[in-house]
């Protein structure tokens, strides 16, 4: 690597990291989902083992997850406070994508080309990745997958073989979404067959190994899930009412905004030229991943946010090819000096279409307010230990983390029985006008408290629980913007008579 490039790369990495950290620390708290992982990291720190029999989620149930991210965070927890780790670690990992993307792009470019630096910059400021306050396994998964990809591109050298194996094993232990890599490989293999070309033997061998390792590991962890949910395990038992949240239908304009317009347009151009004209092996591989993520998203097999992030990073790598090709083109024209004007325009456009939307994305993250957290923390001190609390679905992890109480529902649905019915009842609990209907639900699920946050009020357009009556069945015990109700009644059963 050239010294000049080294300095630039370090600068891009640091600017990315700094921007992310500033945003992360200026936005209070973490995203709702993060509290699930946070609780499990804390548990691993204290007990050394993952909490697979979760006593608080859904009132207590078996909950299996891939634990590498949690173990890594717990390792940092040994010498740093967890509050810091939750903000620094994911952002550090996302920032590391700049280096990985640089390394992959460098393989496509001449040694003196600046193209990889552009790719690194785009990867550093991709709007879709600017969930700076999210503490989740995807922050580790994406760097690991791209590290594996980098190693795969150089698999003929021994050290890269070990790098690949290491990165792939860790990615498989981090998230099931590692299947993206395998589906990408399969499409790469098919493209080669269609082109009548031969895939390198080492590549084939490593693909087969990866496939078997992945399947085996998934079985080891999720055997019960497969047996319990059958083929529906793919959709993680998400209630049908929630499917659109996980796999939303998105317009082209939204996608352009999230992966940034310039890499998107240039990526499409490069993909077209590579597929139908150049037929370069490495670009084939990247395009295979674009096809894989598109298919997975199309068939609603992968969470939208993650597949778009993956797609965006590949586009940023493809940008370097665009850069090189357009530079070559300009050199061949009668006015090679116009290249500088062209690239200046591109830089301005890149800054406008990546940095600004990235910052906007960060500020639009949904996080609980300090006041919400105070209300959930209040539960811990003021409610009996064994009580069950109903709140909005996304607030379930807050009940468990801050309140240390059983939640009625949260957004980890696997292995939950009758999740659709529970979701409908939770919805009814906030919507119904009938006290008896609310009591039927609270009785059925042994719910003791209901938390009504400003978010819930806004969603259901209510200020208090609609069925709150004077008979003391729903006592307001926490007064603030967030309200907590204690359920003091139950329905009496009557005998069925002929």
């Amino acid at each position: 690597m050239q010294k000049k490039h080294q300095y630039w790369l370090i600068a891009i990495f640091l600017v990315t990291l700094l921007t992310r950290l500033i945003l992360a620390f200026s936005i209070p708290n973490l995203t709702y989902d993060s509290y699930f992982d946070l609780r499990h990291v804390e548990y691993i720190s204290q007990h050394g083992l993952p909490l697979y029999q979760d006593p608080l989620s859904y009132g207590g149930r078996e909950l299996i997850f891939l634990p590498f991210f949690h173990y890594l965070s717990a390792l940092f927890d040994l010498f740093l406070p967890l509050a810091l780790i939750t903000k620094i670690l994911p952002n550090l990992l996302f920032a590391s994508l700049t280096i990985i993307v640089y390394l992959i792009s460098r393989d496509y470019s001449a040694p003196e080309s600046n193209a990889p630096l552009f790719s690194a910059f785009i990867a550093g400021f991709l709007p879709i990745l600017y969930t700076t306050n999210s503490f989740s396994a995807s922050s580790l998964l994406l760097p690991l997958i791209f590290l594996a990809l980098y190693a795969f591109l150089n698999i003929n050298r021994k050290k890269y073989l070990y790098l690949y194996i290491g990165a792939f094993l860790l990615a498989s232990l981090t998230s099931s979404a590692t299947i993206m890599l395998l589906i990408g490989f399969s499409i790469y293999f098919l493209l080669f067959i269609l082109e009548g070309q031969k895939v390198k033997r080492a590549e084939l061998e490593i693909m087969l190994f990866s496939l078997f390792f992945y399947i085996w590991l998934q079985f080891v962890f999720f055997k019960d899930t497969f047996l319990h949910e059958g083929i529906s395990f793919i959709w993680q038992n998400i209630p049908p009412q929630m499917i659109l949240n996980y796999f939303p239908k998105i317009t082209l304009a939204q996608a352009l905004l999230l992966v940034s317009a310039i890499p998107f347009v240039t990526g499409v151009l490069v993909a077209y030229r590579s597929l139908f004209k150049l037929k370069d092996r490495k670009t084939f591989l990247l395009i295979s991943f674009v096809i894989a993520t598109t298919l997975l998203t199309w068939f609603r097999l992968m969470e939208f946010q993650l597949s778009l992030a993956f797609f965006g990073i590949i586009l940023s790598i493809l940008f370097s090819q665009f850069y090189n090709e357009s530079k070559d083109y300009f050199q061949k024209t009668k006015a090679p000096q116009t290249w500088k004007i062209f690239i200046s325009i591109i830089i301005i456009l890149l800054i406008v279409t990546t940095v600004l939307p990235a910052i906007a994305t960060a500020f639009s993250q949904e996080t609980p307010s300090d006041e919400d957290i105070a209300a959930f923390s209040w539960l811990q001190e003021n409610t009996p230990e064994n009580s069950t609390v109903a709140s909005l679905l996304e607030e379930g992890p807050l009940v468990a983390y801050y309140g240390q109480r059983k939640n009625f529902m949260d957004n980890r649905f696997t292995l939950v029985d009758n999740v659709e019915g529970k979701f409908t009842d939770l919805d009814k609990l906030f919507k119904t006008q009938l006290e008896t209907e609310a009591l039927r639900i609270t009785d059925q699920y042994n719910i003791d408290y209901i938390v009504l946050t400003p978010q819930a009020k806004e969603r259901y357009a209510v200020d208090t629980l609609p069925y709150k009556s004077a008979d003391g069945c729903f006592d307001r015990i926490y007064y603030n913007k967030t309200k907590i109700y204690n359920i003091g009644c139950s329905l009496e059963k009557t005998e069925v008579q002929e």
């Binding site: 073989l161 190994f209 078997f212 085996w216």
Partner: protein, 451 residues
């Protein structure tokens, strides 16, 4: 080659049948304390063999064995069939010059496959069919005993019409591979057997009215019944399916093996569109492709040698994982010890002729153990089941019970789990017209006061 591998390869025709017995015996052993034979199909055949008429004379051999052996000893039938099938298979493989490696891999994969284990640990029509086909082919290959093949061929046609078509296809392939001289009298005899098969197809279809595919004997679901790791009744390991995809890509290069392509769409369509009961046939064909894929991939020299060994290890672990996971479930297959006790209590609590309502999965067990008539089975009474499950008021439930003369309700834990606890049948049973006469381990027998 490694010494032990060489020994295995040379003696596989003895090792494999013994290994089969060992694996199947382990599976049967986990059921100790409860009826060793599991599955609705087993009890369907045992019920059918209780009385022999001209319409079911082909159950005569089973009827004969049932008269001598108590229920749990009947498990020797599938074990014996497995043992003989493998020996017969080796005789054919040797005479036909199958590659030793491929034969060994094929059988090893087969022995650890839940579909094979399920077929050869129960009284299954397809294990019997496999035995008859292999016996026929062995006899056909012998000059001296050739004509005796007519008996297993005829017996093999009473399973179902789909199996006859499979048999005809096998015979056609046999004739294709062994085609010599048109004037050869031996060859002409082979055509005679083919004609017999064709004739038997029409006789069984028009006179005996045997079904196109036997069953169903369980709640069918295409994917879980195919991939055992998804919790189906049997199926194959996902690892085997992956290798069968590789095998599919290379089988066309191998002489004769490409004929397997003809079977695949035929069986696959049957499996998807007609019945997942055909899983045994699908398993055989997929394992053949899988063995081809396995031999092709691992007989080559790998560039990354360590990765090769690690991949083999993962494959073996994956295969064993599916088998062991199936072993877990196998011990819980119906009828369990508790179900057996409940069914015996059901017999005591009722008199002959009473009609019993339960889920269709219990129909054959009710007939065999309690010797009573089920109101609902896989062949009849689906509407009764739905109407009773959906009844929310006694005004809905009582007329259905009276109309169908149902005087007993037999509830299993699975049924109770499916039924809502707050309303429906579970709540209606609290009515004074119902009396709980047996309740143990979530098995309940309720008597309904008819009229």
């Amino acid at each position: 080659m490694n010494k032990s591998l060489k020994y295995f390869q040379e003696n596989q025709k003895w090792i494999m049948p013994l290994l089969a017995i060992l694996i199947l015996a382990i599976f049967l052993a986990v059921r100790s304390g409860q009826p060793l034979l599991s599955g609705s199909e087993t009890y369907h055949h045992l019920n059918s063999a209780k009385e022999i008429t001209w319409e079911n004379f082909y159950y005569l051999p089973l009827n004969f064995v049932m008269n001598f052996l108590p229920l749990n000893f009947l498990m020797v039938i599938p074990l014996l069939l497995a043992f003989i099938c493998i020996i017969l298979f080796y005789r054919i493989a040797e005479k036909s010059g199958f590659e030793k490696d491929l034969t060994a891999v094929f059988l090893l994969l087969l022995l650890f496959t839940p579909a094979f284990i399920n077929t050869f640990t129960t009284i299954s029509a397809y294990s019997y069919f496999a035995f008859l086909v292999l016996l026929s082919l062995n006899l056909l290959q012998s000059k001296k005993w050739k004509m005796l093949a007519v008996f297993p061929i005829i017996l093999g046609t009473f399973i179902d019409l789909f199996s006859i078509l499979i048999f005809i296809s096998i015979m056609l392939i046999y004739l294709f591979i062994n085609k010599k001289n048109k004037d050869d009298p031996q060859q002409n005899k082979d055509y005679f057997f083919l004609i017999i098969l064709g004739l038997m197809f029409f006789i069984n279809w028009l006179i005996f009215k045997i079904p196109f595919v036997s069953g169903p004997f369980h709640q069918q679901s295409v994917l879980p019944d195919l991939i055992s790791d998804l919790g189906g009744l049997s199926g194959l390991s996902l690892f085997v399916i992956v290798f069968s995809l590789i095998g599919l890509g290379i089988a066309w290069k191998k002489k004769y093996y490409s004929l397997a392509y003809l079977f695949l769409p035929f069986i696959l369509f049957g499996y998807i569109l007609l019945s997942t009961q055909l899983i045994f046939y699908l398993t055989l064909i997929l394992i053949l492709f899988s063995a081809l894929g396995f031999v092709k991939v691992f007989s080559k020299k790998w560039k990354l040698k360590r990765i090769k060994y690690f991949t083999i290890l993962l494959f073996i672990l994956g295969l064993l994982f599916s088998t062991l996971s199936y072993l877990d479930r196998f011990s819980e297959l119906s009828p369990t010890e508790d179900a057996h006790d409940a069914l015996l209590a059901l017999e005591k609590a009722t008199v002959s002729g009473e009609v019993i309502f339960s889920d269709k999965i219990n129909a054959e067990y009710i007939t065999y153990f309690a010797e009573r008539s089920p109101a609902v089975s896989y062949k009849q009474g689906e509407s009764i089941l739905q109407n009773i499950y959906n009844a929310n008021y006694i005004q809905d439930l009582f007329p259905i019970l009276e109309e169908n003369e149902i005087s007993i309700i037999y509830l299993t834990p699975e049924m109770k789990e499916d039924l809502p606890s707050e309303y429906g049948l579970n709540l209606l049973l609290k009515n004074e017209k119902f009396k709980l006469v047996y309740s143990q381990e979530d098995y309940e027998v309720w008597v309904y006061n008819l009229g």
